[in-house]
């Protein structure tokens, strides 16, 4: 039987949020408010960390009754939306803040990496900061001395090791900071999104190091928004939502559920009543869906999967020559592409007899980057006379399957992420 190294029992944490300040009504009120402010401020500050037993209106539960166990050698992912309680959980485990109730039993030495370069002082040299930062992260002087050369080599800043870090570029600074952190050897490591820093090459190195740590039998708790990294690094994950643990299990399943719970994806829309559906007396929309390659309606598609946009419409009069346009927007509202059914040779510009029609458009894999998408659909007729436009009819999610990444898990720019062909050849030898 595996040994739990961390046992979290009904952990809860309550915070007080600032109560809404009342605006002043009159000059006299403002004066009175001003005079009594110190008394009120004192009460407010005092109450900051004191709670009554019952519910209070201006408090929130950042964590509520969270229980789980982490086994020895396990790499556990902690995922959830912003404000779900991930960082609070990590802060409690790292002993930075105290739970309001519940307990955690930890069977081993814990190091936390909530930020790289904690305690770096700009006036101190790289060398001095390695020692200071190492000590802050819980290493002894001897330990740091032993690993010093390795740390410097990893950071790739040998030349500047005796320069004050305030003269470093931000990239060098982060490299040095991560180098120290990467050489921690605790039994349990808590990591929070530290990979979101540094240039691309260094991020890759960091992730490589994380992988090494993860496979080295160390127990790691990893908070991240990078689902691709979570799925690669963590065998098991927990999903937090509004401070509650809502799912626990194999990472891919939990990530799937997290995606599913994401903002009500509506990947199919059917107009129940044909009379009120968008359109006119010639043609009307009937349904719009996102289908996977098996023809099933899906709200989440991997970047390594083809998918279909399906538009169903009803032709109400014989001889109409209708067509559809699909316009895809990403979360930022950037239009990714528009595509028209005029590319269909069989039916385009041909008279349609009355009936229900279905036009599908294949969106190939390895084209879109991961994220949320919204689809707008247009119907037109004859020589592209607009019949109707249905904005943001369906939403879906593209999840990062990592196939384009080819092992690189850092940040990725670009509104699309096509798998383009690359070739390299040696042009000359020195």
């Amino acid at each position: 039987m595996a040994n739990p190294l961390i046992r979290v029992n009904n952990l809860s944490k309550r915070y007080r949020i600032g109560a809404v300040q009342r605006g002043y009504k009159t000059f006299r009120e403002a004066i009175v408010e001003g005079i009594t402010a110190p008394v009120r401020n004192f009460g407010r500050l005092r109450r900051l960390t004191r709670f009554k037993n019952g519910e209070e209106p201006d408090t929130i539960w950042a964590l509520k009754d969270v229980s789980f166990e982490v086994n020895e050698g396990e790499v556990l992912g902690i995922i959830g939306k912003n404000g779900a309680g991930k960082s609070t959980l990590l802060k409690i485990l790292a002993r930075i803040t105290e739970p309001t109730s519940g307990s955690v039993e930890i069977y081993g030495r814990v190091s936390s990496l909530l930020e790289v370069g904690t305690g770096f002082h700009p006036e101190l040299t790289g060398r001095e900061n390695i020692f200071l930062n190492g000590a802050i992260l819980g290493m002894s002087k001897k330990e740091i001395e032993r690993k010093f050369d390795e740390i410097v080599a990893f950071s790739e800043i040998e030349k500047f090791i005796d320069t004050p870090v305030k003269r470093y570029s931000s990239g060098m600074y982060v490299r040095l900071a991560f180098a120290v952190a990467a050489h921690l050897e605790p039994e349990i490591l808590l990591v929070d999104e530290v990979l979101a820093v540094g240039d691309a090459a260094f991020q890759k190195k960091c992730l490589g190091k994380m992988e090494e740590v993860a496979h080295g039998g160390r127990t790691v708790l990893f908070v991240s928004h990078n689902m691709a990294a979570v799925q690669t690094l963590c065998s098991r994950s927990v999903l937090l939502e509004n401070g509650c643990l809502v799912a626990e299990g194999p990472s891919h399943a939990v990530v799937q559920q997290y995606r599913g719970s994401d903002g009500g994806n509506r990947s199919a829309y059917v107009w129940e009543d044909p009379k009120t559906a968008p359109g006119n007396e010639l043609v009307r929309l009937a349904a719009v869906s996102i289908l996977n390659s098996c023809g099933r309606t899906v709200s989440s598609i991997g970047t390594d999967e083809d998918f279909f946009i399906e538009v169903k419409y009803v032709v109400l009069r014989d001889g109409v020559r209708p067509g559809a346009t699909a316009v895809l927007f990403n979360q930022e509202g950037t239009c990714i592409f528009s595509s028209l059914s005029n590319r269909d040779k069989d039916w385009h510009d041909k008279p349609h007899p009355i009936g229900l029609y279905r036009s599908t458009c294949l969106v190939p894999m390895s084209l879109l980057s991961d994220g949320e998408y919204r689809l707008t659909v247009l119907l037109w007729e004859g020589s592209y006379n607009l019949v109707c436009r249905s904005d943001e009819t369906v939403r879906f999610h593209i999840r990062d399957a990592g196939e384009v990444r080819a092992g690189y898990y850092g940040g990725w720019q670009g509104v699309i992420r096509p798998a383009l062909r690359w070739s390299t050849e040696r042009v000359s030898s020195p």
């Binding site: 500050l45 955690v104 930890i106 006036e123």
Partner: protein
């Protein structure tokens, strides 16, 4: 048992947690074992404070002397010459400088210490280590300034031909009491400052007031004898008088005053540490 060598196996086969995290109730004691575990960090924190103190200054460590020296010159002019305040039989400059060195150290320690937690808020909200080290580090780091300022005092002793007697052997004890009082005050105010930022603004005049309530510009001997022991409730009174007696031979060593002041200093230290431990659990949330 497949403890993996990680958990501490306590003989009977039952594995005790290395650490239990739960809400703490009531007063907390200082965990000396933990402090010892982190002693390297404390060393680096002190070293950092020392190194950065006079970075990018022209005069560097000389500042440690200039501050008390100039204050002494001003006080000598106004209190020594103009007001004619007595100085227990030694020249007023050396009489005042001795106190000024002690006071500069004390005021500096308390100021740095009080602001330390707020200043280190990123550290406190991002990583765990014994928080006590934060206000204690500047108190220790400033001892270097104190030592530098003492060098000038030694020079002044030679110039003014004022030499310490055998009571000088008590200086280490006085120094310990001084450090305890400064740390105690620092810890208390730092913890308070974490929640009530008013402390930062109060500090300036609190220290000013405290200085004039201590025998810095005047000797305790200008007070009637019967009030001396009451006066010694101000820990800095006994400490400064003790230092001056031990180093300059101004008066007979004021054992009773030092005893009372020392006791108050120790109470401040213990009280400050307890208050700090009591409030530290919330630092990350309120800072």
């Amino acid at each position: 048992m497949s403890g993996g060598g990680l958990a501490t196996n306590t003989g009977g086969g039952e594995i005790k947690p290395y650490l239990v995290i739960k809400p703490k109730k009531g007063w907390q004691l200082i965990d000396f074992r933990e402090l010892k575990e982190y002693r390297d960090l404390f060393y680096f924190l002190v070293a950092r404070d020392v190194k950065i103190r006079y970075k990018q200054t022209v005069l560097g460590g000389l500042w440690a002397v200039i501050q008390p020296l100039f204050m002494m010159i001003v006080f000598t002019l106004f209190f020594g010459r103009l007001a004619g305040i007595p100085s227990d039989g030694v020249p007023y400059p050396i009489f005042n400088y001795t106190a000024m060195v002690i006071w500069t150290y004390f005021a500096g320690s308390v100021t740095f210490s009080s602001n330390s937690l707020v200043q280190e808020n990123t550290l406190i909200s991002k990583v765990y280590f014994p928080r006590l080290m934060v206000p204690l580090a500047p108190v220790i780091a400033l001892l270097l300034d104190f030592a530098i300022a003492l060098v000038l005092l030694a020079g002044m002793m030679i110039v003014f031909r004022v030499y310490p007697g055998p009571e000088a052997l008590l200086v280490p004890i006085l120094l310990l009491l001084l450090v305890l009082t400064a740390s105690g005050t620092g810890m208390f105010l730092a913890a308070l400052n974490a929640k009530y930022r008013d402390i930062r603004y109060t500090l300036t005049f609190l220290l000013q007031f405290w200085m004039f309530a201590s025998p810095v510009v005047y000797p305790a001997s200008i007070l009637p004898e019967k009030y001396h022991l009451l006066y010694a409730i101000n820990p800095m009174a006994g400490i400064i008088e003790g230092f001056r007696s031990a180093l300059l031979g101004t008066t007979a060593f004021p054992f009773l005053m030092v005893l009372i002041s020392g006791a108050v200093g120790i109470i401040i230290f213990v009280g400050g540490a307890l208050y700090f431990k009591q409030t530290e659990r919330n630092f990350a949330d309120i800072i």
